[in-house]
Symmetry: C2
Subunit: 377 residues, 2 copies
Amino acid sequence: MTPFSFRLLATDGAARRGEITTAHGTIQTPVFMPVGTAASVKSLTTEQLERLGPEIILNNTYHLMLRPGIDLLDRLGGVHRFMNWKGAVLSDSGGFQVFSLAKIRKIREEGVEFRSHIDGSKHFLSPERSIEIQTRMGVDIAMAFDECPPHGWSRSEVEKSMEMTHRWARRSLEAREAAPAAGSAPALFGIIQGGTYPDLRRHSAEAIASMEFDGIAIGGLSVGEPKEEMLETMRFTAPLMPSGRPRYLMGVGTPEDLVEGVAAGIDMFDCVMPTRNARNGTLFTSEGKIAIKNARFAADEGPLDPRCSCMTCATVSRAYLRHLYTSGEIAAAVYNTIHNVSFYLDLMRSIRQAIASNSFRSFREAFLARVASGIEV
Amino acid sequence: MTPFSFRLLATDGAARRGEITTAHGTIQTPVFMPVGTAASVKSLTTEQLERLGPEIILNNTYHLMLRPGIDLLDRLGGVHRFMNWKGAVLSDSGGFQVFSLAKIRKIREEGVEFRSHIDGSKHFLSPERSIEIQTRMGVDIAMAFDECPPHGWSRSEVEKSMEMTHRWARRSLEAREAAPAAGSAPALFGIIQGGTYPDLRRHSAEAIASMEFDGIAIGGLSVGEPKEEMLETMRFTAPLMPSGRPRYLMGVGTPEDLVEGVAAGIDMFDCVMPTRNARNGTLFTSEGKIAIKNARFAADEGPLDPRCSCMTCATVSRAYLRHLYTSGEIAAAVYNTIHNVSFYLDLMRSIRQAIASNSFRSFREAFLARVASGIEV
């Protein structure tokens, strides 16, 4: 296995300050991982991404296995070399996208048959195949192949799916152990499922924790359930996760969700929100979330966020950003993404400082009070 | 008038090495001006543009008068401050876009009525209005308002249009002199028209040269005429232009066109080709022009252009660029634009060095031989 370790540096209530070491550097936690879907954090060059300073990004196995394909990616030396990214990479297992994006599928115990949403070509993913692909991608952290039940499934459907996810988790671990080049196998995280059912989540947490995963994730949230159910399930599940391994809340969420996740003891997050919102002109600022197309910014000479020191805030005005966005300029997506990703990374930096100085409780209260007072962030 | 001067430093045959001084820095000629249509060189942040090092860019009066509008732009301190651009800016007069993009128009001696291609709103441009707008944009070099006859007009139509362009040229000069804040008036270039008719071009060159313009441009080329007619007209017209003022060939062209333009004595060029081609995945390299989507680049680990030192060539492979382009990633446009603009700026740097060392003739021959041998650049 490639080098991987987790060290807990400090706690503040349930919040944890830690450090993950990988072959591609050390990651300070709690951490937010920008999503680099197809080996590109959307709208950014790798150089721009580097300057924003994330220590780890996420790549999507589903997207990369379809395009450029794993044989090519392997031949080109893996994702780091492909995108010239020197930091760490975590890949998802492809499961979530298969269930949400792929066109036709047969789900069997063995694995999932699906058709590419790009060209309709047939593909197959199983625990073994997913681990093989993630290993050949050369990522630092791989995820076990799981089924992610959508919101609305019955308890018995969710339970049945969860049991299969546990069997797939075991097979994922075995596939990692069986990797031909053992030294290149990534760290592997297991995924807790169980929908919004506390007893299923408890059962799943115990099952996944009992396996030799390097980290544990909460999957199956932010899939359409009401926000309060997401937070409740997260708060219920986090304390059930082993304290000696990193805890990762997958696909979540808003800045508020990150603060709440950290308060519950989560160490790692990923979400397309900062990058997707950037392309849609929705920008996070210390004064609240804004839609840059709004006419009130037309003559606003101030920076997007006066408390932010990102390139966007340091160099151009809200008026210019509004102009670029309403004119459909590509540079709008670039400027906006730089800011939104910077905002998320800054938030995590503040969170880490608050935990280190044992003031996370007051940090969180002040943050949530700002949200409650109508400044939506 | 804002500071403006032109100094001829060296000649090599008809090719000229010069220097233009403006309030926003000195410009080494021959120069290529990247096109920043709507106060954005498409796909680039101003910071990225700065790092590419152009000394002057072009902004489009037509696009900016429609959006964000001149009143707002004026209030925001002009185009330099708007886009945070410290180098020089040349604006066109709006004429070309009115005739090629605007939906409905009435052309009278007084000026042109047209409807915005964006929202159908009614607008009016005349020599006086165009100069007012360009002055309020705060540009360093403005262009006289002209009519640009499309390819295919009869001789008498072109002649009639040219005569109006001359009257508009006179009015443009008078409007500049009458500017309320005389110190802020930009340098002003006149435009030679006359289609592909040598006698009309000669007449127009004499008429425009007789007026007190700070520089002289050849307009009305690259509007659909065969390439050879464009080059012939350019070669015929350039020597008729005064040698003491900068000579600008508007809207041209390919790398080959730039070399031929310099050989004819042209000092300034602009064209959307490097930026537009970049977005279409057509990339200029020292080994020829390539379509990056081509399957032969799928596993190509080499840099886009081994002789180029731009950020794109220094950091990522052709395989990655092909992947980004075929995946529709915004970053593809960014990487490609950085390279194509860099290629054009490097070409002009080589041209300037060749003139300075009195070797432009052999430079040109080697360049055209490469083109003739099938390496299309």
